[in-house]
Every structure is written in structure tokens, then in C-alpha cells.
Amino acid sequence: MSPAAGYNFGFLDEYAKKEIRRATLKAVAIPGYQVPYSSREMPMGRGFGTGGLQLTLALIGAGETLKVIDQGSDDSVNAVNLRSFIEMTCPGIDTTTSVDEADLIQSRHRIPEKPLREDQLLVLQVPYPDPLVIVEPSEDKRKVQHGEADYSRLLVKLYEDLVHFGEITISHRYPTRINDHYVIDPSPIPRWDVPKIHQSKALILLGAGREKKIYAVPPYCKAEPLAFDDVPFRVEDFCDEQGVRRACTRCGCTTSFLDEFVDSTCGEKIYQCSDSDWCDEVMGEQS
């Protein structure tokens, strides 16, 4: 699909890109605020990262290098699909699997383990842009609650979790307060990745295509997961029964988010780094 086939650079027409850039500027200016935008239909399913994709297509230019990950991996079906579509419609860009080499990283469900730099941009794909949706289905009412920074019902939900289960049950998409006002849904990243948003050197942009919203966490911005004074926020626990931190069975790393699965040949439970680029890099350092 070249421009000759009738598609513009980046698939979207220039009006669409301009609108996305404007919405992005507004999102950066009001950290955590969900900016509505018209959101075009993309040739892949709504829910497959079309919000992130529209951001990437509106922001990337020839000569820049892109990394696309899904579940921490560059080789996941959806990452492959998105990357090849972007390559096809954006002639002149480069792609990479290395975090270091990337100017722009589009990701679903993970933030890379390696800290990002100021000159990098992270685009996260978002299915549910609004953290209040778990307590209030009406968008109209939620908009008022956000405006008033009224997150009392979310806090009540967390409290009720503690009463029912003794634990906060929110596993991912953990509500996070940005710059002391708006609480965002940080996309379905695990709690493990939430602290990486706080004071991130890279600009983080979040795009929800189906729900037609763009929001941002600017660099060096405060990002605090909702918690109570006596119940601190906790990330996923990767310790075994004896309380020893599990290591990646491939690279041996004990500081990364792990995927757990059953080995199809030996039937044993295996733990491996979810972030494939990180795992490769740790392996490389050892050899």
C-alpha cells in the first residue's frame, strides 16, 4: 500500500492527523485530562490498539525509529500486525526491537523495564480511558466527577475491597492520580509498571480509539496510585512459597515482571521475563 494506492503517509488524511496533534497538545497541557477527539476507523479492530495507532501515525515521521510491543514482546501477533501496518503506510521510518534505539514506542499492556529517556515517546493503547467507569457507567456524570476531582467512589470501592477480601482486588489498570488532580486509567499495564509513570523522563501518551479519548502524562510529572495511609500500594509479588524472589528461567533476572506458564513438554511451571528485549539484553550481558 503505497501513496500510489491512494493512501496518505500514515494512512490518515492530514486533517485527521492535525486533529490528533491538537488533542495531544491539549492532553500534555492538562496532565491526565481525557481529551475527546473524533477518532477515525482504522483497518483493524476497535480494541486492537487503534487509539495508540492513530497517535503513532499522527506523530511519527520519516527517519524516526519505532518499536511496537504487546505483552512485553515485539513478536506477539498484534505487535507484528501493528508494526507491519505502520511500516507499510509510513515509508522511510525504521523499526527496532531495542528500547535504546527507539524514538517512539507503542505498547499494549506493558511499559519497558528499561527506564526511558527524555528524547523518547511512549504511546500506550487504551481500552478503557476512564478509571471511574468501574463505579459510574455514565460518561456525562463521570465528566463532572473528574472536573471536581471527586474520586470518593473509587476510594470507597478500594475500601470495600479491603472489607470483602482483605486485599485491594484491582490487579491492573490501577487508578493513578496525575499531577494532584485527574485520576487516570494508566491502560491495562500491571501494577508493576505504575511506578514507572511517576517522574518518567519520557512523555507518555495514551490513546483510546473506540472511546475516542487522548490523554497524557508529561515528563517529570507526579503519578501516584490511589492508596490509603495504612494500606500502601503494592506491585505484583513474584516470590515463591519460601519468600524467595523467583528468577527468569532464561536470563536469571530477579527484578523484572515475569510471565508464568506451564512448559508444554515437561509440564513444569516456568517463569520468564515478560519484556523480551530486557531478557535478551540481560542474556547478552552474561555472554
Binding site: S38, R46, G47, S171, P188, W192, D259
Partner: protein, 370 residues
Amino acid sequence: MGYVAIKGGGKAIGASEELLELLRSKQSGDAMPLDIDTIMHQLHSLNSRVLSEGGLYHPELSALAIKQCMGDTLEAAFTLRAYRSTRPRIVETAMHDTSKMRVIRRISAAFKDIPGGQTLGPATDYQLRLMRMDLLDESPESFQAIASTWLKKMPDEEIPLTFPKVVESLRADGLLPPVVQVSRGDAFDITREPMIFPVPRSAALATMARAEQGGLLSLAYSNMRGYGDIHPTVAELRVGYLPVYMPHPISGEDIEIGEILMTECEVVAMYEKGTDQDAKAHFTLGYGACFGHNEVKAISMAILDRALQMGASDGPSNPSEDAEFVLLHIDGIDSMGFCTHYKMPHYVTFQSDMDRLRATQKRDESEEKA
């Protein structure tokens, strides 16, 4: 050990595409591919549906979408919509007058006779739904003879091409309030502006016009059955070809550029008290219109339009009267996309889910011991 978690995505997708293409062509050795013209004409209803949900009036491309998507309406409408979304908006047309429609069918359930008369036209309504076994092995000769036989026995009398609108006679009688005139440019373009609730009626109508038929019907049916109180009477349902005018690029004058097949429905519902200026009570109106020949869709839309107007003025008391509930859940492209996305890998979030469950289980265990 290799990186087992996720690998070979690209190869798998490639192979899957090949298999899908194989599925599309899976027929005996001398089979012919479906030709676009056949889909456009013989799958009239399917093509109508895809045109309407795709939101682009291009019968040929919509037939192509049906062919490449193997008849899946959601996928075909999606493909057409994604094509549409790459096209810039070049012009805004003037308001179109559906009384100018070249009608193939128009009926009213409100009056025995209407100005111009009832025209049943091609309709499945009174057809017996019996399997027509003779079509299992239809010969080309008998198929081709249908049109020529029909044309031969066509009556000599002239049938008017256009008919006045039934609602106009209701307005003339003072049973319906006069039309509120809006100027060109006032229509909300849902493809260019995000909907922030409450939205104007034009945004609601545009959203419903390209909504998924099943979704629209299901919400309208909830109102018909009792989760709502519209009790509509179909003042008029018409199907036909509407001449389309566009401003000439140089002179700016409106010129006819072609015609589109569309379905339009007006329902009349319970009367309400007039406004301050006009204290007289009037019937209320619900409006539905869409590309193609989709009668169930046009009627459902008209009922929901009325329900939404009611919800907007009195506050919603049923799901079908709640604009957010209706308008955000009827788009086939949105809803099917989100539904199918659950098939994608969710390893990371599930890992987090297990972490929470195990932490809770551990707590339960230690409490039991204590």
C-alpha cells in the same frame, strides 16, 4: 531455552491469512468466484445492510467488502468504514428533500388512504416463509425470464415517480408541530467531532443511521415490549431513490450528481403539550433514515429517535431513552472490535489477576489457621 512465551507471531498471521483465503475459495474445482455485480443485485438486502452500516454510499465497494469478508456483515461494514475514514470531507451538501424521492415502495399504517395512495412495492411482509425448493436448482433461463415476463405485463397507466409526504398532511391539519428550520452547517458530523453528552439530535440520528441493525433493533424492541412507552404508529415508510445534489465546484450552484437508494420512516407517537409560543397539543414524531433498503432498521431508528427525544426532555426512565446508553452501544464496528479484542493475548493482565487472587487466598488461609 528459547523465548517461549510469544514467538512467531508474524509467521502465524501470514499462514492464517492464507488459510482464510483458502476458505474463501473452498468449492469444487470448476467453481467461479462471486462476481461483484451478482452481489450488488442478487444480495440486495445484504448489500443494503453493509452500505448502511459502513456509512458510505458505494454499492460496488460494499459488494466487494461482502465478497472479501465472505458475507460477514460486521466485517464487511467495517472494511467499508475503514476505507471511508481515509477520505477527506470535501464538501457539505444542502439539506435534501425526501419528497423528491423516486419511490419504489411507500406505506402508511396511520391512514387507509394517503395522498398518492399506498404502494406496497417489493416487500417480504406478507410473504409466506416457506422454503422455495425450486430455487435449489434454478435454471438460468427461468431466472432470466422473470424480469422480461414482469415487464411485459406492466400496466399502461402512468405511475407518478414521487409522492407527497404523509407527515406534511398531518402538519397541514395541525396534528404535528411545524418543522423547526435549521440552516446548512448546523448538522453534527459524527465522523469529525467527538460526541460529548448531551449531544444534538442530528448527532443521534447520524449515529443511528450507520448503527448495526441487530443492535438498533434490540434496543428499539426493548422499548416496544414495555421498557418504554412509545407506542408508535408508522405514519409513512418509504423506500426509493433520492436525487443527490452537490454544490458545483465553480459556480457553487447545487447540481444533481446521482441518486441513492434509501429507506425512510416517520413514526407518530403520543401527543404532548405545546411550548409557550404555541400552547396547542401535538402528536410527537420519531424519524429514521438510512442508506439502502433496510426497513427494520429505519423503523427501529424512528422509535429510538422518539424515545431519545423523550429521555432528553423528561430524563431517561428506560435504557432506550438514555442517549449515552443507546448511542454508545449500537455501532457495529465499535462493538464487534471490542468483542473480538478479547481473543488477543492478555497474559500480563491475567498474571496480575492471579497475583491478586493468590494474595487473597493466602490471606484466607492464614485467617483460617488463626
